[in-house]
Subunit: 328 residues, 2 copies
Amino acid sequence: MRLLSQMFGKDLVKVAQNAFLCGTMEKLELYILGCGSALPTTRHFSTSQVINVRDKLFMIDCGEGAQLQFRKARLKFSRLNHIFISHLHGDHCFGLWGLISTLNLLGRTADLHIYSPHGLEKLLLPTLAFFNRQMTYKVLFHEFETKEPMLIYEDRSLTVTTIPLQHRIPCCGFLFAEKPRPNHIIREMVDFYEVPLYEMNRIKNGADYVTSEGQTIPNSVLTRPAEPPRRFAYCSDTVYLPDLAAQLAGVDLLFHEATFAADNLARAKETFHTTAAQAAELARAAGAKKLLIGHFSARYEDESILLEEATRIFPETLLAKEMLCVSI
Amino acid sequence: MRLLSQMFGKDLVKVAQNAFLCGTMEKLELYILGCGSALPTTRHFSTSQVINVRDKLFMIDCGEGAQLQFRKARLKFSRLNHIFISHLHGDHCFGLWGLISTLNLLGRTADLHIYSPHGLEKLLLPTLAFFNRQMTYKVLFHEFETKEPMLIYEDRSLTVTTIPLQHRIPCCGFLFAEKPRPNHIIREMVDFYEVPLYEMNRIKNGADYVTSEGQTIPNSVLTRPAEPPRRFAYCSDTVYLPDLAAQLAGVDLLFHEATFAADNLARAKETFHTTAAQAAELARAAGAKKLLIGHFSARYEDESILLEEATRIFPETLLAKEMLCVSI
């Protein structure tokens, strides 16, 4: 049996060990590009967010100016391959026209995937064809039903599931969920038992180790559990739906629209929006770890009234603002 | 014969005299909402400008984010009735979708007139119909040919004529020209000759005055000439067209694109754009009073290179920037 240090030089071992043994949390960050509602103000851009999952960028909604804010946040277009549109109101998708054209001007070649309720492709295609005579890349539309939660995206480490909402038109939120990750190797223990490099993946995935002498070392001695997978939920636009608590149970971060304060409850219902108090009630019922509220009505020059209202019910509430980056 | 003060009370006379006699320049201001080119940067919005003619607002081009910048400039949507689109490239018109929707949300009732080369109505209508199920106002499209100068707008005090440009697609600039205004009454002289109020309009328009004693007072004694009518020309996007000097002769302000510096002349020609030096040459040849350059390529982090290049040829050059307001 050879140790890592026998197989590789000393420095290379360090690199390999770091890759295998590193137990730090991987990047999961939410950027707010815009958190206003339908009417533009001098304070807010229309709705758009970007979630950075280990340097893959996923855009959620794409209001007018999203591409400008994307640049301002120093995010990289090349890392953006998936855009999720909650519903076909202009303040959630008018930024697509410009963003898609810009990516074309930049000579992008990778496919761009757009997920939305039905109707977007038919609307966008004629305009795209007119304004981008020659596309350097493909835009692939994935249109979904909005009645039931649906798995609409999956890769090695992440799933995205729709969250059916209730708005004036078909609308869904999105639940971003990390997949469970392999256990972390305890470096001192694998060194002690002289575990060879080629056994590491099996051990990370739960296998015990049998030494060359035939002794079985239980996995629990060699590893510690991975961090629990994190989840982020995006809910906008919608009336207050208390039943969402089940699907959102225990999310690490809940972004929920809070278009109005509680004294505008009637207006919220009428326009199929939520109050800050209701967003906080939902976060509490769901046992969310943090609540981020946004999609503010233009009437609130000072949004601290919304924050105070929510915080009284759910203390771990944050107020969205442009260029805010929240680590999940 | 009665004097003004005999016909009205003393205070009313002052108001009436001010209305008749005021000789100050009326408002003619240009606001830069965006002066970037096709690719967005953190420094610039896409192209859009607003010209304020005695509190009537005319928008020229409407790139993404124009409505946000319009708000930021503290301009009033209710004063905007006419939008002029130079050509159908996205960075000059992608802001229309959001702007039109916002005006609808605000419950606008006045018609909105949009002037553009052919094709815009067909492109916009399906999207507008989808995103604005019920329109509270009418959008009226006025599409023009781009080969010859055409008078496309006229009111009591202003005309707008197209300036045929040469770009990759049909494109026109716009010449905003005040109509000649009546002469200014010289207050001391009309007081001296006891000219009655009802004669004032005739005199402002050039008539002599005959006193009740039959004495003819020449108009030149009673009035001084009005300020010469002012003209503003907008030229973007285009290759360098020296022949424009004739149509632009003597303009008070020329906005001209200067996408590139002279060392990128080949690139400018290839993409049908102009260099700062060429814009300055045109301003000089036209005898413009001032030149404002914009539509900067994203490659220039520091645009002073463009300003210096233009200033060497035409000293009265200004660099456009967002929220700049130029009095014409």
